[in-house]
């Protein structure tokens, strides 16, 4: 079965193709073979035997990537038994990798991928250091089949929500994070002493300190939740001190300091429709994403409501309405998150050699009038069915067909 699918060649022809890595191409072909994109362009020869998909008048883009959410980790928000995202009782849960908590059979997956979302970050939740987030494709019967990158990021919190882990003070949070990072450094140079107990007590378990080594080596990004301007600046400061690869998430008041963020070369994940003030971010506003992008910051967009990850499209449309360019917004839900999460060699654009996550739309992916014609994940055509379409079929005419 798998061999058969992998051998399939699909030619999506005649559409307006948005490769994202380059300008749009009219009347172009996207050729998919063995789960990869084999060719993209206006003059691509379609091999005999290929399955032809007529995309005339349609738009073809990479599958959308949401660098947020808890897909597979949480079936029903209010039902704790279906929630696998939080490791309770450990405020420094650096060794907590969520991969084996992911349920490939989650009903949320089918609901969201049929709206063009093909890849999401499964993010843990927690206190100070939440654990390791995992990037997954929204197709596959096993976690091995879904996994794109694990871990994709270490997640930490410098927002108001983390204050309990810092004794009730933002300063305490920052100092505790530094202590953990210092101890992780010391642990790395004195593992033997640690095993012989010839070292003072460290602020986290050996497993957690070990898990932080790739972060300290700059191999694994540290994704930091920060919204208030001063919290963003704390994150930038700590990243500089420890030479970390920082990703900012939330960054609600980032629009105040785009230059600082851009100079630091730090990318941000932003939720464009979020503008309700709290004491964590009184300066939150719709224009955050466009102002950051204008200031030269690498911006990816996110939809954090897991069951409606599909609203990433609406987030992007609203970012455009708030001043982002349409091209920036498309990149911010495809190639930019792929770059930020370290998979741009395989994901995020329509280029030969990349994983064949491809969506055929009836029009502009961000507008409500647009429908989905085809979704491919790793070259497999995804059936446009979900629990919700089955409910629709059952109740479309009343009385229902039981």
């Amino acid at each position: 079965m798998i061999a058969f699918l992998l051998a399939q060649t699909i030619a999506i022809t005649g559409g307006t193709v948005y490769p994202v890595s380059g300008p749009k191409i009219e009347n172009a072909t996207v050729l998919i073979r063995d789960g990869r994109i084999a060719a993209v362009g206006a003059n691509v020869a379609v091999p005999a035997g290929a399955t032809r998909i007529d995309a005339s008048g349609k738009w073809v883009t990479p599958g959308l990537i949401d660098g947020a959410g808890q897909m597979g980790l949480r079936e029903i928000g209010a039902v704790q038994n279906t929630n696998e995202a939080t490791l309770r009782g450990n405020e420094v849960a650096a060794s907590f990798n969520v991969l084996e908590g992911i349920n490939p059979a989650s009903t949320l997956i089918a609901v969201n991928r049929m709206e063009g979302i093909t890849t999401t970050l499964a993010v843990p939740n927690g206190s100070l250091i939440w654990g390791q987030a995992v990037l997954i494709d929204l197709d596959g019967a096993t976690i091995e089949a879904m996994r794109v990158k694990s871990p994709a990021a270490m997640v930490a919190d410098l927002s108001e929500a983390a204050k309990d882990a810092g004794g009730g003070s933002r300063a305490g949070v920052a100092q505790r994070l530094r202590r953990v990072l210092n101890d992780a450094r010391e642990y790395a140079t004195r593992r033997a002493d640690y095993r012989r107990r010839q070292i003072q007590d460290l602020s986290a378990s050996a497993a957690d300190l070990e898990a932080l080594q790739p972060v300290l080596r700059g191999e694994l990004p540290l994704l930091v939740v920060a919204n208030r301007r001063s919290d963003i600046e704390t994150a930038l400061r700590i990243a500089q001190e420890y030479k970390l690869r920082l990703i900012l998430a939330g960054a609600a008041e980032g629009w105040m300091i785009p230059d600082e963020i851009a100079v630091a070369g730090v990318p941000v994940l932003v939720e464009p429709m979020d503008n309700i003030p709290s004491f964590d971010a009184l300066g939150i506003r719709y224009e955050n994403a466009p102002l950051l992008a204008k200031g030269g910051v690498k911006v990816a967009l996110m939809e954090t409501t897991t069951e409606n990850t599909r609203d990433l499209r609406q987030q992007a449309g609203n970012a455009v309405a708030s001043g982002m360019t349409w091209d920036q917004a498309l990149r911010a839900v495809t190639l930019t998150p792929a770059e930020i999460l370290g998979v741009a060699d395989r994901y995020g654009s329509l280029e030969a050699g990349k994983v064949a996550n491809v969506v055929v739309w009836t029009g502009d992916p961000f507008d409500f009038s647009t429908g989905i014609e085809h979704v491919y994940i790793r070259g497999r055509e995804i059936p446009l069915r979900s629990r919700q379409t089955e409910l629709l079929e059952r109740y479309k005419t009343l009385p229902p067909k039981y």
Partner: protein, 465 residues
């Protein structure tokens, strides 16, 4: 009320006719009909509105696409309003000499957006304990509390909603209680007090809640702890109210002896039984809505609208027959068990069955984009083969919510005689790219996207970043 569970736990915590003739009745009335007075039988006026129209010059918006929510989409149309009333709508409208002229070229006009389900003001930003005034969660039946007594007019979420084109809201108590209290129906205008915002003549709503929330909140606090306990609770409350109503109705008629002792809880419920207060019922599941309709039949009242009603499509025929509207989201689902069966086509299926659809927010963020939510529901309906018109989709956030609040003779459509609640949009309001450019509430320019002089800030936001 719902906690937005977020991947990064960083964001907001928000609390929580089909017939073509639905909506406007009058097309050329010089003045709108009066809604029922806010006066409880036998008690007299209470906590009256002090709302006053803001004086303004007449305004003519011309050469716009005007979606009237009364059956028309007029290309190159004009709308004239004066002294808070719509004077004329059409292809050829002459401007009086004193009118402010607004060029609507390339722009759209709709009636002001109306939300039947908001908690702004009662769950105000910045969202700490200090502003948490939406659930009187001390007893499962608190028909005696009134949302207007919690409402904070300096909530910084109010200007955000205004900028989304919203001109009227129903601020509701939360859904912790079986019977949560009276709603406040408000003109969304900058004001010092809620009294200045109270929509003159509006019917109070009574918030009721089904299902998971009451049993979760009271399960370990004396009950109800089950859905059958919920039902018993509503019934006990209305039985008490029946007796109370009889006593008062009798006294009001014959004035014999001392008046009966007042009881605020029963006073609200008796007004429901008299039909003066509209039941606004938070209820997700189809089977529970059927139970609530039976309850309404038992006590002889109408449920004006179910709220949330993610399973309305399963009983769309019944809802149409009962004349009960549904105030729903376009796509929320799955955040709790009773919300598992939400589908995109809910609105379209209810519309198709002849029911009355309202797109509501229940959310300080969503209230800013009710037009977008309606568009989402319309297009998904169409893709499922259900022919929803653009006019119907606009009614979902204008004329139909006006009906749910009993204000359909006053607001909700762009017709002469209606209140001048008017939104000028930068683009087709059923596109994701549209933004409200100007919002007029009763003729008053309460928001102008391009003019900081018309971008009100609440006191809370002064001096903030």
């Amino acid at each position: 009320m719902r906690h937005l569970s977020t991947a990064f736990a960083l964001l907001v915590f928000a609390a929580g006719a089909g017939c073509a003739s639905a909506g406007a009745r009058t097309t050329n009335a010089a003045a709108p009909a009066q809604a029922t007075a806010t006066q409880d039988a036998g008690i007299g006026p209470q906590y009256p509105s002090t709302y006053q129209r803001h004086p303004n010059p007449p305004v003519l918006i011309r050469n716009a696409t005007i979606m009237t929510a009364a059956g028309q989409e007029i290309q190159g149309g004009s709308i004239l309003f004066r002294d808070g009333r719509i004077v004329a709508v059409g292809a050829n409208v002459t401007a009086p000499t004193d009118a402010t002229i607004v060029d609507g070229t390339g722009k759209w006009v709709t009636p002001g957006v109306i939300d039947t389900h908001s908690h702004i003001g009662v769950y105000a930003a910045p969202g700490t304990f200090g502003e948490s005034d939406g659930n009187e969660a001390t007893s499962p039946v608190t028909a005696e509390v009134w949302a207007e007594h919690s409402f904070w007019p300096q909530d910084p979420q109010i200007p955000l909603a205004i900028a989304g084109g919203v001109t009227t809201i129903q601020a509701l108590p939360g859904s912790a209680n079986l019977i949560g209290g009276r709603s406040a129906v408000l003109k969304l205008v900058p004001a010092r007090s809620v009294q200045e915002m109270k929509f003159p003549g509006a019917h109070y709503g009574l918030k009721m809640a089904c299902g998971e929330n009451p049993k979760r909140v009271y399960g370990n606090r004396g009950g109800p702890s089950t859905r059958m306990g919920n039902m018993a609770g509503y019934r006990a409350a209305f039985i008490a109210a029946q007796g109370y109503r009889q006593k008062w109705d009798k006294w009001n008629k014959d004035h014999q002896g001392d008046p009966p002792e007042r009881n605020l809880r029963n006073e609200s419920l008796a007004e429901v039984l008299r039909g003066n207060i509209y039941v606004q019922n938070h209820c997700y599941r189809a089977d529970e809505m059927m139970q609530m309709l039976d309850l309404a039949h038992e006590f002889g009242f109408k449920i004006r609208s179910f709220h949330h009603a993610v399973e309305a499509y399963k009983i769309a025929d019944v809802l149409a027959r009962e004349g009960t509207a549904v105030s729903i989201w376009s796509d929320w689902w799955g955040f709790k068990e009773e919300a598992m069966d939400g589908i995109y086509e809910n609105a379209a299926l209810v519309q198709q069955a002849g029911g009355r659809v309202v797109i509501h927010s229940d959310d300080a963020s969503g209230i800013q984009r009710l037009n977008q939510e309606a568009a989402k529901a319309m297009y998904h309906g169409r893709r499922a083969g259900i022919p929803i018109t653009r006019d119907q989709a606009v009614r979902w956030f204008t004329a139909n919510p006006a009906w749910v609040l009993g204000l359909d003779s006053l607001v909700g459509t762009l017709e002469p005689g209606k209140m001048a609640d008017v939104v000028l949009w930068s683009a087709d309001p059923l596109s994701v790219y549209a933004r409200a450019l100007q919002v007029y509430n009763d003729g008053w320019l309460v928001y102008d996207r391009n003019d900081p002089a018309h971008q009100p800030k609440t006191d809370f936001s002064l001096g903030q970043p």
